[in-house]
Symmetry: C2
Subunit: 462 residues, 2 copies
C-alpha cells in the first residue's frame, strides 16, 4: 500500500484540478434545461474512469440520464466490490445566497476546514466524494495493487430519486454481481472524529396542489366569501402535526420499530453539543418531537417537512389577489420498517380527507425509498472500520444518519448484498444548500482511506 499512498501524495494537485473541472459542469438532474450538461458530466466521468485503468467503460442509456459503468476484473477468487456514486447535483437555488458561483469552484478556508475547502454545488454531494474512488482506483492501478475485482456504477439521477438506476440494476443484475457495494455519500462526525454511517432514513416525497376558484380573483371582491387555497393549504399542513410535533396522519407510526432504551442511551453518548449546534445554525432554540433528543429526532424518528410552498403573488410589492391555487412539496423521512409506498398512500388518503369543500386537492408522489440499517459484525463493515482507523489514526464511531439514500435498500433487494457507506463529508458542509463545500483534508483523506478498505476487505474475506 505504500506505493499507492506515495502516488496519491505526489498527485494531489492534479486530483484537485480534475475535481474542480468536474464541478464546473452544472449537472442539475432535476431541471430539464441542464440535460446537456448532465450528459457532458457523464462523459467526463467516463473518460476519467477509462484513463484511470478501468475496462469496458461505457455510458448506459436510460429513460433519463445515462449511467457510467466500468470494471477491472483480476481473479475469480477475489471478492468483487461495486463502487457506486452519482455525478448529478441538487439545484443551486436559492442562487442569491451563494457567496460565489455554484459552478465556479473556489478554495477558501473555514473554521472547520482550516486547510481549505472547495466551494461549489456537488463539491461534497457527491462529485467530490464519488471522484475520490476514481483517484484511489487510479493510484492502485498505477502501483499494481489490486486486492479485489472492481466494478464502477456512477449514476446521474440520485437527486431525483434514482428511478432508472433501479431498472438498470435489475436488467444488468449479472454484470453488476458483487460481494459488497461501496459508496461515499455520507458524513463523518468531525475531521478528528471519524465515523461510519450504519443507518439511513427512508423517504416519501409528495407534491400537493389545492385549487379553489377556476381563476385568480380580486381579494376585495371575493375575499371572505370564497376559499383561499393558500389559507386552506396552511390549515391542512398545520393540522399534519400536533402540539407535540407528532405527525397526525392515521397509521403513520404503526410500523416504526421501537428502539430500546439501552440503544437510545448508547446513541446519546455520541459527541454532541447542543449549544454549538444552535450556534452553528444561528438559532436560539431547537424544535422537534416531544420525548426525543436531537440525535434521536434526526435518526430513529420519522419526520414531515415542507420543502417548498408557493401560491399567489410572490413578486415585489403588494398585489391583492385571491389565488386560484397553492402548491407544496412535502417530504417525510422514514425509519426502518416503514414502507415508503404505504406512507405515501396514508398521506394521500389523509390529505384528501381533510380538504374542506370549496377546494380540490391533488397529491402527486415523487420518489421514495426505504430506510436502511447496516450490521457492524460483517467483513465489509470491519474492513471500513480498519481502513478509517488506519487513515485517521483513530477508531471510527458507528452512526445512524438522518438522510436518505434509497438505493442502499434497493441494492440489498436486487443484489442481495450489504452496502458500506464510507463517507467523508461533514454535516456542516452545506450539501443541498448555498455555499456547499468539501474540505481538502476530507477529499484527500478519502482517497487515502479507500485503498485500505479494499485491502482489508480482501483479507477479511479470505
Amino acid at each position: 500500500m505504500e506505493k499507492v499512498q506515495d502516488y496519491i501524495a505526489s498527485n494531489k494537485d492534479r486530483f484537485l484540478e480534475e475535481l474542480m473541472e468536474l464541478l464546473r459542469i452544472p449537472s442539475i438532474s432535476a431541471d430539464p434545461a441542464y440535460a446537456d450538461d448532465v450528459r457532458k458530466t457523464a462523459e467526463y466521468v467516463k473518460d476519467k474512469l477509462a484513463s484511470a485503468g478501468a475496462d469496458k467503460v461505457q455510458l448506459f442509456e436510460t429513460a433519463g440520464h445515462p449511467i457510467v459503468y466500468g470494471e477491472k476484473f483480476k481473479d475469480a477468487s477475489l471478492p468483487t466490490v461495486l463502487v457506486y456514486g452519482h455525478y448529478d447535483v441538487q439545484p443551486p437555488d436559492p442562487i442569491e445566497l451563494w457567496d460565489s458561483g455554484p459552478f465556479e469552484p473556489i478554495i477558501k478556508e473555514t473554521k472547520l476546514h482550516p486547510g481549505g475547502a472547495i466551494f461549489a454545488r456537488g463539491a461534497c454531494d457527491d462529485k467530490g466524494q464519488m471522484y475520490m474512488h476514481l483517484k484511489a482506483f487510479e493510484a492502485m492501478m498505477d502501483a499494481g495493487e489490486q486486492p479485489v475485482n472492481f466494478k464502477f456504477m456512477i449514476e446521474g439521477e440520485e437527486e431525483i430519486g434514482s428511478d432508472n438506476l433501479g431498472i438498470f440494476c435489475k436488467e444488468y443484475k449479472e454484470m453488476l454481481a458483487c460481494d459488497v457495494v461501496l459508496l461515499s455519500d455520507t458524513s463523518i462526525i468531525a475531521n478528528d472524529t471519524p465515523s461510519i454511517c450504519i443507518g439511513l432514513r427512508g423517504l416519501s416525497y409528495v407534491e400537493v396542489e389545492v385549487v379553489g376558484a377556476n381563476k385568480d380573483l380580486h381579494s376585495g371582491v371575493y375575499g371572505g366569501a370564497v376559499a383561499n387555497p393558500i389559507n386552506v393549504l396552511c390549515d391542512m399542513i398545520a393540522s399534519l402535526k400536533d402540539e407535540n410535533h407528532h405527525i397526525t396522519i392515521p397509521g403513520f407510526y404503526d410500523d416504526v420499530v421501537v428502539v430500546s432504551e439501552v440503544d437510545r442511551a448508547k446513541m446519546n453518548e455520541a459527541p454532541f453539543s447542543l449549544s454549538k449546534y444552535k450556534e452553528g445554525l444561528g438559532i436560539n432554540d431547537i424544535m422537534g418531537e416531544k420525548g426525543y433528543t436531537t440525535l434521536e429526532r434526526t435518526s430513529i424518528r420519522p419526520t414531515l417537512d415542507v420543502n417548498g410552498l408557493w401560491g399567489g403573488y410572490i413578486g415585489e410589492g403588494a398585489k391583492t389577489v385571491l389565488p386560484s391555487k397553492a402548491n407544496a412539496k412535502i417530504s417525510m423521512r422514514l425509519v426502518p420498517n416503514q414502507d415508503p409506498d404505504k406512507i405515501t398512500k396514508l398521506f394521500e388518503d389523509h390529505f384528501k380527507s381533510i380538504a374542506p369543500s370549496g377546494v380540490t386537492v391533488t397529491v402527486s408522489p415523487h420518489h421514495g425509498g426505504h430506510a436502511a440499517v447496516v450490521p457492524t459484525d460483517t467483513p465489509e463493515y470491519m474492513a471500513a472500520h480498519k481502513a478509517m482507523e488506519k487513515a485517521f489514526g483513530k477508531e471510527p464511531i458507528p452512526e445512524r444518519s438522518g438522510g436518505s439514500i434509497p438505493i442502499v435498500a434497493m441494492f440489498e433487494e436486487v443484489f442481495g448484498v450489504k452496502s458500506v457507506m464510507l463517507g467523508f463529508g461533514l454535516d456542516t458542509d452545506d450539501i443541498h444548500s448555498p455555499n456547499e463545500h468539501y474540505g481538502l483534508f476530507n477529499y484527500y483523506k478519502g482517497i487515502e482511506t479507500i485503498p485500505y478498505f479494499h485491502d482489508f476487505y480482501a483479507q477479511l474475506k479470505k
Copy 2:
C-alpha cells in the same frame, strides 16, 4: 346634451383605438423594471388630456411615479368636479394563465359581454374606466357644453398604495380644491342592472418573514430537529382564524360597526344567485365567516387573506431542503370605523407573539387605507343616480363593495368632500386576474353616462 351624445356616437371607433394604444404600455407600478413604461403611460394620458381641451396640463413629479394634472375652468359660480383615475396596473402574474398577451389588447365576445370585451391588463382597472372621463370631457368640449369646472388628477401608484398621491393632495390642496371627486374604479351588478358603489372596505397589507436557521439545510440531516420556517408559517397563518372563520387577532373586531338587522335584510335583497356564483367560479362550495351571507361577507365584514406565500424549493422536481426562511403577503379588508394603522399594529403584535422560539419573525407593513361609506342623500349621489338612470333607462341600486380604494377616505380628509364612485365594470371582469377584460358596452355606456352626471350635478347644486 344631444350634441355631446352625437359626438360620442360618431367617434366610438377612435375612442376604442386610443384605449387599446394606452393598454399596450405595460404600466406595472409595483415592478421597478417597468418605471420607463409607467412614465410613457403618464405622457400618453397627459397628451390626450391636452388634446381633449384641458388647460395647464402637466406631469407632477413625485418620489415615485408622476401624476397627470389638467383643468378647465369656466366660471367661479359653477361647481368644480375633480376627476380622479389611475393609469398604473396590477402585475399580470401568473402570466401563463393569460389566453393572450396582457399588453396585447384584443377584442373577444364573452357570455356576459356578447357585444365584445377588450382583454388586457388594465382594460377595466383602471385604464378603461379612467379613459372614459377623458373622452366624455372631449365630447363636452367639442359640443361647447361645460356645466361644471373640471380638474383632472390621474395617478400612477394606485396599485401600490397611492402614498405619493396623499402627499401631492396635501401639498396642492388649493389647486385641487373641488366640490366633489368623481372616479370610475368600481363595478355595476350587471349590464342590465346598474348600481352605484356607496361603500368600500379599508385595507391593511403586511408582508411577513419567518427565519429559522441561518442557511438552507438538508432536510435529512436536520429535519425533525430544527424549526422549518414553512411549517411554522403555516401553523401561524392557520391559527389566525378559528373553525368558524373568525379572525383570532385580539381586538381585531373591536371597532367594527354592527350593521342593523334591518340593513342586513335590505342588503340581502340585492339580486344574487348562489348557484350562478359558484358556477362562475367553478367551485362546489363557498367558504366564509359563520353567521353571514356571501353578500355580507364581501361587504360589511372584515377579512384576512394570504395573497402570496413562498418558501423553499419551488422549481421542478424534488429538492429535500429545509429552508432558512418563508415569506407571506397577507391583507386584511377592513370595514368602516376600523383604523388600518391600528389593525396593522394589532396584527404585528399578535403575529410576533405567536412565533415559537427557534424562529425570528418580522412584519413589514405595505400600504393601508380606511373604509369609506357614501351617503345617498347628497346632490353628488343624486346626480350619479339620475345620470345612470338616464343612460341605462333603469334606476341604479346603491351597493357596498368589498374592494378598497383607500384614497376615497383620504380625499374626504384632505379636501373635505365626498367622492362619487361611478364605476361601470363587472365583478366578473377579472381585474387583478389573468384575462382581465372590459366590455365595449360598458366602456361606451360610461362615456355616455359621465356627461349626464356633470349636467345633473350642476343643476342639483344650483
